[in-house]
Amino acid sequence: MNRDIYPLFPIPCSLTMIEYEPVIGMEVHVELQTESKMFCGCKVDFGGDPNTRCCPVCLGLPGSLPVVNGRAIEYMAKAAIALDCSITPQSIFHRKNYYYPDLPKNYQISQYDNPLGVDGYVEITVGGITKKIAVRRVHMEEDTGKLIHVEGNFSHVDYNRSGVPLMEIVTMNPPPPGYDQIQSADEAREYLQRLRQILLYLGVSDCKMEEGSMRCEPNISIRPKGQEKFGTKTEIKNLNSFRSVYLGVEYELKRQEKLLREGGTVVQETRRWDDSRGMTASMRTKEVEQEYRYFPEPDLVPMRFESDWIENLRSSLPELPMAKRDRFISQYGIAEVDAEVLVDSLDLANLFDNTAKHTKDPKAVANWITGEFLRLINATGTAISDTKLTSKHICGMIDIIENGTINRNIAKTVFEDMFNTGKQADQIVEEKGLKQVTDTGAIEAAVDKVIADCPNEVERFKAGEERLVGFFVGKVMKETQGKANPGVVNKLLKEKLG
């Protein structure tokens, strides 16, 4: 018997690879873009000198009373409806009690067992697979102040952010039948991006992760595939970009898997993402069971939402990103990748939509916008809403390409000019003399000149080096300042060299 082929003992089960599957929950906080704070008239803004947007209410001074900002409730209800949540007919605020210096009242006005919205979902597409990620609740609360750590054992407190309307959106694990949960770092990032798109379309928040108006705290666990019970979860903080959300979740999944494979156990804790080192580290906080002693906020009366009000809001919702993407594909016949790029920003989607419906060639419009337009936007750092280019410009340019006034090469120059100056295409062509030369005589002269100038290449071409045709076309184009009709150039070259 050959021992190399037949091991004496069967391999013990524990050595075979257990497959793990991730379970990821997302808690997202979004500051609403209202003019004033949630419960007082202080202005909502970013930055500014410390403690310049504070009053007795958002400082929690004795005797002050909060009053609910109606628009914040409307914004939040809109968001909840857009996520397909049910709006709770009667909703109340609770006090969440805890001591921390960023919270001047020692309680945060939040929602507990009557959140404004429940049971919704966010649709995501990763690797061609579409999933409905279940959302458990959407609730309203107030943001806290900011602690700025200074030299020594002290912190400075700035309450400008205290009381800014804050919406919390939490996923549901396990999801109800027909819905999914987030199971990879890719899906976590996609979930957040989709959520951001929706909220930007609704205009309820500017969702800037780097400024903290959108914040995300994923909780992560892994379990052996097929096991129903969740593994021990950790929560990650300090994720300030979509990239760090992806990297942080990915890191944490790998860390937990390695730990379990080496026979260790995952400790329930909060871990801080360190962007420069590309890793999470324990925040070494005692994970005492948090006891917030929630009770109904006596200073605020309950809210009741009539179905008429809800239906009115529903019908006021704009077309949402995924629906717009699907419409662009079916109505205009453009590729899905292009549609995704276009709907990522509402301004871009509107520019495309308004242009495409006025031309016979929506695919060309999509190409120009996803190509040249975005290139110029990125190169110049212009906001899409600030550009001088309108759908009229693009339509005008496509028209003069189609009727042969300019060729595609010249069109690039024209496009950049329109982008920079806001002039119309025909005006630029006129002013700069960019009209396509279709006159055979003029092109023929250029072809003859090129042939005369390049005897070596002509010889090589005739000897069978056919790829040189591109070289000749290029030369002729240069002779005509790019204005020659490429069809005529090709035809003449073929005749003269053939």
Binding site: P50, N51, Y100, P101, H156, V157, Y159, R293, L300, V301
Partner: protein, 96 residues
């Protein structure tokens, strides 16, 4: 229901109250007498009464989303036990 000495210690900690031995004894008694009073209320038959979170029948009190001037920063920090410029100063607390 009776609250034990341990319950009181827990609540005191959550409220960041430092209580002496004497106060602890006294408050344990107080709070339990208070709870006994509530137990009396519990005897009422409330089966046909809809639960409420608030005692007045008022709903939907909303404010228009208009900003108005805030306090000057020096007034904001006027009551602060320790202040640096326009900021409150607090002992550094590990984030939880």
């Amino acid at each position: 229901m009776r609250l034990t000495r341990q319950d009181i210690e827990g609540v005191a900690h959550l409220s960041r109250l430092e209580l002496s031995e004497e106060e602890m004894e006294k408050l344990t008694g107080h709070i339990n007498r208070l709870l006994e009073n509530f137990e009396e209320l519990q005897e009422l038959d409330t089966d046909d009464i809809e639960p409420t979170s608030h005692v007045i029948p008022v709903y939907n009190v909303f404010r228009e989303d208009k900003s108005r001037p805030s306090l000057p920063p020096e007034e904001v920090v006027a009551n602060g036990p320790q202040v640096d410029g326009a900021c409150f100063v607090v002992p550094r607390v590990v984030e939880t």
